[in-house]
Assembly symmetry: C2
Homo-oligomer: 243 residues x 2
């Protein structure tokens, strides 16, 4: 069965956390909004969300379609896919620990988004720039170290070793943490300077994931589009440290 | 087995979404930070989060302890408890639909929080009041109708009838939607004026939940503390509609 991923065309965004797991596992999937051509995929996505009769309508992209099942929210999609893709620990109770970690990633991502949109998603960045500067300063000073420090601690306190966030093998949260580091390096290069020394376990995890054959191939492919200023992680120099 | 709920004392906050499910099911639980007396429970909570050796440390409250298992994040706790408390549909695939709905509730709650803290959680409300006014105006105009309209549609498009958000019986998302309406009525009474006519299915669900015997008894008990200006839903008249 080919999975159908529905997400906005033109950005990595939240969809990227799902793509990384699908790519790592070599799963068959269609990136609907990107691959259907001339806006047809995006229309299909919007029609599904706006349906006046479907019982299971998503609030927002990304969502995954597997047969008749429509699954919204990154953490939910990964919880569903994880066991099928071999990206979860074997012990059942640990699924809730893993899901908790992914939900912490989701909260972190939401806070990254709000650094450039602290007042309203409907307004342009330019119309909330002063507030974005204030929010970014607090994010860099308080929130970024709090989240990164937390994940660093979880890695170091893993009884199976700091190579993975949970258990002794790769999970989808490891892939998500790779993406977090990639995104922060793009968006806040000054604030991230020297992060390798501060967060050695996270930094090592990032590098290990980048070298995995399927991930390395994906990162070099055309399917990995570049970060840009329409996505979640945006590089506005005036929001970075020392601006 | 008695569940242990860890959450800040003195507020309903995010913990309330878990409490409502435990109360509806008549489950045995200890509200650790509230019941241990003189700050001992809160210390236990902080110690668990700050542990330098535990493998499964939560990033933030609320979290649930069930034996050795520590489960953070409201949606994750409810996903774990739901089947045990009889608050999920029987068909397994629908668990992901239910979880998706609860995660949409979680996003909504995060946006409610940011109406009074749009710049930094570490700053006082008074130090970000102008930004809070701008964010609240956008929330009331765009986000509140978008979220409430979405849940109203899901209720109306439920093939089993609009009495429940999913399937033909009560789930934990129904209880969460009750709490959303309660909270919005407290925080934004002007903006919520006439909501019954705009969102009849949501309004009916709210009233039905309030009349359930275990919920009605809980709401009258001392365990249901009042909304206040330390929680998620805060009533600041200057942030409400027409202020």
């Amino acid at each position: 069965m080919t999975y159908e991923l529905y997400y906005w065309d033109g950005i990595q965004g939240r969809g990227e956390f799902v793509r990384l797991s699908l790519e790592e596992a070599g799963a068959e999937y269609v990136d609907v909004a990107r691959e259907s051509g001339s806006g047809r995929g995006t229309s299909a996505m919007m029609n599904l969300m706006r349906s006046g009769s479907d019982p299971h309508i998503p609030f927002a992209p990304p969502f995954l379609k597997d047969g008749d099942l429509v699954i919204p929210h990154v953490a939910n999609i990964l919880l569903y896919l994880g066991p099928k893709l071999g990206l979860v620990p074997k012990q059942e109770g640990l699924l809730y620990v893993l899901n908790g970690l992914q939900l912490t990633v989701a909260d972190f991502v939401a806070e990254v988004h709000d650094t450039h949109h602290p007042i309203a998603t409907s307004l342009y960045y330019e119309d909330q720039k002063d507030e974005a500067k204030a929010r970014s300063a607090a994010f860099i000073k308080e929130r970024m170290p709090k989240f990164l420090g937390y994940f660093e601690r979880v890695l170091r306190q893993n009884p199976q070793g700091p190579q993975h966030i949970l258990g002794d093998a790769l999970t989808y949260v490891d892939l998500s943490l790779f993406q977090i580091i990639e995104g922060l390096n793009y968006a806040f290069p000054n604030a991230m300077t020297g992060y390798q020394a501060k967060y050695p376990a996270l930094s090592a995890l990032h590098d290990t994931v980048a070298r995995r054959p399927n991930i390395a191939a994906y990162l070099k492919s055309e399917r990995r589009i570049a970060f840009n200023e329409d996505g979640i992680f945006r590089h506005y120099p005036e929001l970075d440290k020392g601006a």
